[in-house]
Symmetry: D2
Subunit: 241 residues, 4 copies
């Protein structure tokens, strides 16, 4: 095993897209906290965002205030751009990620044409993951939506970058609920969830560190101004071969 990396220069932001009006009632936050605690133990600087504590405007817009809307998004966007790692947490409702998670992705998408210092899209060089909880079904479906969106706008997705918990088919306890007549909390001892949460935390850290050491993704063949100057799909037509 090579020497363990020093992660103290890495920053992570967790956005909990729960529908609960009070963060204290969010089950998803409990699993987010497990992952964040692993990162914190490695000296990663952690920021948490709870969108329902803020006023976030709808729209494919950078700042709703420009159109006369209340909008706290620009401060969230700043945290996202400052961080190396982004983790989106969502509950599952009817098998889908929450409307808040959809809104967060929409607002991030509105900035997807911005560039970083290497003239790549602004999210290049960052690492993304997600955390999903519900009481019965849909972790993978929500994760595929979220991880696809993140890679589409520039994030790197390391292996097993998602974790989650659900119970057996049907209504039942949510993650962290105390089970009847007991102090046992649903899902806390689920080895699969704990293992996946651990793998995810470490894989996000390893990838963020690797990208930082490499100064991000090399800027060849992936910039809007430069892609035609290297080997490219415009000139590499199949019939030429």
């Amino acid at each position: 095993m090579k020497d363990q990396s020093d992660f103290s220069d890495i920053k992570a932001v967790f956005i909990n897209c729960s529908l609960k009006n009070s963060k204290s009632e969010s089950h998803t936050q409990l699993l987010i906290d497990k992952v964040a605690n692993i990162m914190r133990s490695q000296k990663i600087e952690i920021e948490h965002v709870y969108p329902l504590d803020k006023k976030i405007a709808f729209g494919m817009i950078k700042d709703g205030k420009d159109s006369g809307l209340e909008d706290d998004w620009p401060e969230v966007q700043k945290k996202i751009l400052d961080a190396d790692i982004l983790v989106i947490g969502t509950p599952i409702w009817l098998g889908q990620k929450s409307s808040v998670a959809t809104q967060v992705i929409e607002r991030m998408y509105a900035f997807s044409g911005d560039k970083n210092s290497k003239d790549q899209y602004a999210y290049y060089g960052k690492t993304g993951g997600c955390i999903v909880t519900g009481n019965e079904d849909g972790v993978k479906h929500c994760a595929m939506d979220i991880l696809y969106a993140l890679q589409h706008i520039g994030y790197t997705i390391p292996p097993q970058a998602d974790c989650g918990w659900i119970g057996e088919a049907g209504p039942g306890p949510s993650y962290g609920d105390k089970l009847e007549n007991s102090d046992v909390r649903a899902g806390f001892d689920n080895d699969f969830t704990n293992r996946n949460a651990t793998f995810m935390a470490w894989n996000l850290m390893h990838m963020a560190k690797m990208l930082k050491s490499n100064n991000g993704i090399d800027a060849i063949g992936n910039t809007t101004d430069g892609w035609e100057d290297v080997a490219n799909a415009k000139h590499e037509n199949p019939e030429y071969h």
Copy 2:
């Protein structure tokens, strides 16, 4: 710009999950060839697999021959394990990836418990992407299915690891079809498709090179035997904080 990497030690395999019984009729192959040609120009060693040229058994099994079935999968699996980069190509039918693509992922999944030399899952350290073509709708949906599956079993997904082409809503030409009374081929000059195909090719190469230089993903916190020996989600319960 840092000096360009030497990619000559990288291998890529492209699996075209077309439903056309003859590879020569596959539209998806044309876009695959564009991406493969970019990689080949950088001295990457390329393998192509066309599953419908083979007999591949159904099942969550490693080798159908063990159950008396005809099965060429083991030779495909060997190519996948030998390669640093995997690109799955698929046509879109009714908005979905093909049955052949689903079967390829199932067969890869049957090996997902195997380990690499660092005791991680066997696909760790590899880089994955996908190519999708159809005549009207569904690139992103197919891509999210495929990329999610790849990251779930251990692949790293770099930014913008998919490309594709579709036409306007409704029936119409497929990728590479000659347009009426013309030598123009549908999609070949689509700047968006060409740009995405180029970004994808280069991002896969950059990530594969970065992973190779780093000897894969560091094996801390992401092995089935070792995850409980480092900071982990079993011990980092939220109520402890």
Copy 3:
């Protein structure tokens, strides 16, 4: 052909989940209007809802005002319950239905345990469809999300209950945009979109009429209190046969 039905006792509500702050800028509204006009020509009573003109609370809640939130949802819910047909319209952003569409479905879901006069879930006997527009990709993916949600809570989905428009892969005009140097509007003459919009409108009408004539779905085997009194899956265990 049997005599044409009289649809004058049918009501339909269209909810446009656009992210545009002004309804007048919504491209989706243009296709919604085509479908609504077909229904209006058959004397169906039409209601339109534009959620961004209202304040709708987040949450799996019936009335946000109970928790001190501004919330216009109860008036929307009333329109939905009064109508025989519901059509959800959504734009596509990053291959997905909008956050507003997700929120609308969440709020409807919060009422999914309510009962109708036959002791079935409240949405039984109603007919649902959807309309999706974007500039490049994702009609089917959005439609499958929306139609699944509607059938899950009690709606009947007739054949081909969705329609949409998208252009060729890549950025481009949105539905109804005037094309360069021309009065031609993108998609308006697309035969596939027009045919699907027509099929959808009529299929929703036929199904709504059929359900109305039948007094909804027969209430045998599909009520929470009565399902164990008829042939059921609790008693029909496979090993008994």
Copy 4:
């Protein structure tokens, strides 16, 4: 309650898209049998199809034998066209419906341009549902894929037309597995699964009966030759109003 319908003129076909080479090992079959038994108790004629017992060719083709391939699909297609109700059963692998299920839908789709006696698409007037089992996650995702495909080609989807079973997050028993040291079979007593299976069986029967009594969906506005002769989206342009 109105008098119970007589269902003795209804036919149903169940297609089990398991990946198990022997039908006797399929867990999904157990839940299929529960639903089929409910229907059989109402005198519905039941056919079962197990695709892996047959040779089914890949392709968007009607009969692989025309291209020199072994192909038992035409006999399956005949059963589907003879039946009023179609139920597709699938296991979940990596959160998705099986490759066999995808192949079945592809082959049905190849016939989607055929017409019924009213000049509608051939699957009009039929009713569809699905049954999904796995050991941890994905019922809704698989169901939304399958039900969308069915309605897209002409099936009517009644309320709650899907049922399924999964266990808690992580590996575990499959549906019907005997639990450790016990005769209890996983999922058999799950009230949610049993209730949904019952609702589904009855809703499919009620809708099939209603459609049969109505001689299918009225053929106005939903035929490829006739849609322009009634109120339609080509003429109902928004700017006219």
